[in-house]
Amino acid sequence: MADELHYKTLSELQVLLTAGELSSVELTKSLIERKEEVDPRVQAFNSLDEEQVISQAEASDQRRGAGESMGSLDGIPIGLKDVISVKDSPLTCSSKMLENFVSPYDATVTTRLKEEGAILFGRLNMDEFAMGSSTENSAFNTTFNPWDLERVAGGSSGGSAAAVSAGSVPVSLGSDTGGSIRQPASFCGVVGLKPTYGRVSRFGLVAYASSLDQIGPFGRSVKDVASVLQSIAGHDPRDSTSIEQTVPDYLGSIESNKGPWKLGVPKEYFGEGLDPEVKACIEKAIDWYADQGCEIHEVNMRNMDLAIAVYYIIATAEASSNLARFDGVRYTHRSKDAENAIDLYFKSRAEGFGEEVKRRIILGTYVLSSGYYDAYYLKAQKVRTLIRQDFMKAYETVDALLTPTSPFVSFKAGEKSEDPLQMYLADIYTISANLAGIPGISLPCGPNSEGLPVGLQILGKPFGEADLLAIANSFEEAHDYSQQHPEI
């Protein structure tokens, strides 16, 4: 049964559970077995409390037996990136700083999943404090790509993408600050959605860059990602940046909205640095949409090449402020060598943070420091306005944009980790969406000649997730890329 179960989609599992052909305990046990089989090689999980997930599954089966299922995710295992709080569960952010921390409360997304009856299946590895593009910055393990174990899963939500790709869990949550959902989804051949800024509550998400962070789902189909978004989206009084706007019926939209759409292709996303095989896959996808009757428009994103500079100024500035709370005093690693209170800050932070986190805090502190604020931070905020304007102008004529998710397929572990700037350039196609606050999805659009997944990115209008999912689903249904799985 296990072999048949681990690559079933969420919607297939929902049918089996509802029909009584499968119990949540059977499903959960088979995924625990799958995780034990593949995770020693993939290293997607930071922790999994097996007893607890089985007891959650038992409770779900009892509810179902009594005709009292809580919601559409009842009995479904879902993995959470180790940056989202679950009450009485470890929350490490893959950092030594929080190695022994146990969260005293639930994030709002966690509360919503619990209200649906979902099984919270393990804590997934990530770049430390979500800073990185390969999950090599985890203080614990590197997460490897299930398609090629010498390559990285992408990042920062590498564990969330790899666990879904390896069949250890049908769906998961990650967070996306500059591409941290979409890029690992692209590398691991799964679907990943970054919602509009404000669509999903950030309460209980450990903050990296608060004006850019957004929680979103991973799955092995567009519909599965839509189902999870349905459960977690909506206003939350505890996150003042979450927006009070009705959440549409995403699965309904997928069924009713069949296009044709007006789609934009920004030529700046197809220039120097784009791998020719990735380019060919994306162009083939664009041609497919054109063949379906979609109007394809060339659009301009003239400030796209500035997005990385803007992002690494704004994100590190916000991070330097957000991570000031990890000071060795209240709930983090505390140095044993400190001689006085001030020394306690310096030594606890030196011991608790990894190299990339220190680098970004130093950079962020510098761009905010007296004499440099206007030249870097304020300037970046103004260019951010221009980047958003480029998108809004394009959306006057088109419904969505088609681009590559990443300039290249997954790279070998160690290949880029010595040069931070090279690693930062990996985010070139994803970060603009965070700066502009718009939603984006990555879905598989074909393996390259080495059999490695390539991701198509579709960028939508603010709060246009319903259209975005419909556009993505139409491509997915006509191809079998989402049904291809790694041999592991």
Partner: protein, 97 residues
């Protein structure tokens, strides 16, 4: 203070309250130097008259009703402190004397 394009690493590390090893100091100085050089491309853009953007959407003050809500009990609040006494976080002596 440093020239633009290079970082006075000790000054900034002090502001950030992070002790750096000699190796980190050297590594970060050179890496951050090239990152700052990369940032210079922003100077090519004319941003006169452009409003800075702190958030994707207009963010206004959001106030809730001024009513008390339940918070953590003291035990939970200090549970993770590295050192505690009588439900308070214990820290090294701050004032001498």
């Amino acid at each position: 203070m440093s020239e633009k394009g290079s970082i006075d690493i000790d000054y900034v590390a002090n502001l950030a309250r992070i002790e750096l090893s000699d190796k980190e100091r050297e590594l970060f100085s050179s890496q951050l130097g090239s990152i700052l050089e990369y940032f210079e491309q922003l100077n090519q853009v004319d941003v006169s008259g452009v409003e800075p953007m702190a958030h994707a959407f207009q963010v206004e003050n959001v106030l809730r009703e001024d009513a008390s809500v339940e918070g953590f009990d003291p035990e939970t609040a200090v549970k993770h402190a590295a050192a505690k006494r009588n439900n308070m976080v214990q820290v090294p002596k701050v004032i001498e004397g």
